[in-house]
Amino acid sequence: MAEDGYNFAYLDEQTKRMIRRAILKAVAIPGYQVPFGSREMPLPYGWGTGGIQVTASIIGRDDTLKVIDQGADDTVNAVSIRKFFARTAGVGTTERTEDATILQTRHRIPETPLGPGQILVYQVPIPEPLRWLEPREAETRKMHALEEYGVMHVRLYEDIARFGHIATSYDYPVRVNGRYLMRPSPIPKFDNPKMDRSPALQLFGAGREKRIYAIPPHTGVRSLDFDDHPFEVQKWEDVCALCGSGESFLDEIVTDDRGGRMFVCSDTDYCGRRREAGHTGPATRDPEGSGA
């Protein structure tokens, strides 16, 4: 049950209407950044004020919410936001990706493929992909309007010239529906292919920068690249130490001060459920031989 003294899902109804109008416009123009009147939220900028406002405006009483931070359900940011909606909206929460109707995320897309009817809400720190190349807002808007995106390739060129390959590994720029250049928020480029033609609705909220944008279901999302340096995702030589998965995004964890380290899935739900199903990794198979 929701606690007394709050409107359903914290925001007042007028604000939710305003945000829903912005979301509708964003869905109608895939990748276009729609300005909205971002409200003060009871958490600091940079902790997901944009995502939380989007979630608050679309959540209903029969929704089930999952919140992840860097793929994990049990980190401070994820736990706090989940508790926030449990208290102010009284909605059910879950850690299972396929059971959730709304997933709010910071820095990851779940490994379990999303299905139709699910909504993925991203927390976005800086929505403007051209910002570090062109500081003037009026100019970047004009560049979007006129599709002048050549300068984005200058950044990728610079990567190749300096490192021999495209070294940008997160927040990797994409073209949505062949039109707008978009920042996918700081997700690893490993997750970029998951955005392409996803059956789920993807909403992006930037609270401090006061922008909302969206990728409607089944919309094409292309990562920028060069003809002779095609887009590639990260690969690991290791598998997850706990569940043995060779397909998921791995975090490196330092286990001691003598160079010991292990790689584990960043998506805790995916990893835990694989272990429940009987999968084992190097560390769970042979506890004596791992780590030290």
Binding site: E148, G150, H153, Y157, E158, A161, R162, D225, D228
Partner: protein, 275 residues
């Protein structure tokens, strides 16, 4: 010398060649800054392959005229027409903004006096040269890099410095880089605002030599604003002398400099110090 290099132009001046349409024509260009005149009633034409010099003292309106004709500053009155490749002469302030911006980054070049204004200081020399190519759709890294190497070579820079940032270059090298960056899309006209200002004389001489070679090899038209009569003499075929926002004299460079008619032109020419 400069005139001899371009025989076709000479033929036109002597009336032996049929008239081709001018590349750029300014008619009655007037710009007021909050009531203060920047330039008044300036009219001239630039023909394909011709280098036009604009000289005059500080505050005479040279740069205002340059900005007005290069779509960077809309004049208060008057028109600027450019002969586009496909649609013939078009008023640059009446055409659509996408068309104008495309023109500015493909058919035109603009060389600033301070290379910092014309260069992207945060990215390498190669990326600076490649930017215009990428802006018009080049998506092959190897080809972009090859074009950048070729252009570094053409402006007589060490191709080994391709991946260095512009601030590690000397002033003369930055200016060369800026020129290469502008010429990579094979523009038809280049606007230059004091291209050799702020450089010492020996670097200036080499840069002038380079510019003269590029302009004649590529058949570029150019409008060069300068207060340095030596630069004007070396580069330009034709000269406009400006004073208080108005053109007081115009003609072939050698004619104007060797036999100035207007009192101000005479003063300007006689003020040059010969060491």
């Amino acid at each position: 010398m400069a005139v001899l290099q371009c025989n076709a132009l000479q033929l036109r001046y002597t009336g032996m060649m049929p008239e081709a349409p001018p590349l750029l024509s300014a008619r009655g260009v007037t710009k007021y800054y909050e009531g203060i005149p920047g330039c008044r009633n300036v009219s001239f034409e630039v023909w394909p392959g011709e280098v036009l010099g604009i000289v005059g003292e500080s505050g005479s309106g040279k740069t205002t005229v340059l900005n007005c004709i290069s779509a960077r500053l809309e004049p208060t009155s008057g028109t600027v027409e450019y002969a586009t490749r496909h649609d013939g002469p078009a008023d640059i302030y009446r055409m659509s903004e996408p068309a104008r911006r495309l023109l500015m980054r493909t058919d035109w070049g603009f060389v600033h006096q301070n290379p910092r204004e014309g260069l992207r200081m945060g990215v390498s020399a190669g990326a600076n040269i490649g930017e215009r190519l990428m802006a018009v759709g080049a998506r092959h890294y190897g080809n972009i890099r090859q074009a950048a190497t070729d252009w570094l070579d053409k402006v007589e820079m060490d191709t080994g410095r391709m991946d260095d940032l512009p601030f590690t270059f000397s002033g003369g090298m930055q200016q060369r880089l800026q020129i290469a960056r502008n010429l990579v899309t094979a523009p038809r006209i280049v606007f230059m605002d004091e291209p050799t200002g702020g450089l010492d004389v020996s670097v200036q001489a080499r840069l002038l030599d380079l510019l003269r070679g590029l302009v004649s090899d590529l058949g570029l038209a150019a409008v060069i604003v300068t207060h340095d009569l030596a630069v004007a003499r070396l580069l330009s075929h034709r000269l406009l002398v400006m004073r208080r926002g108005e053109v007081v004299e115009s003609g072939l460079t050698d004619q104007v400099l060797d036999d100035p008619q207007h009192p101000y032109s005479q003063l300007l020419v006689s003020s040059v110090i010969h060491p």
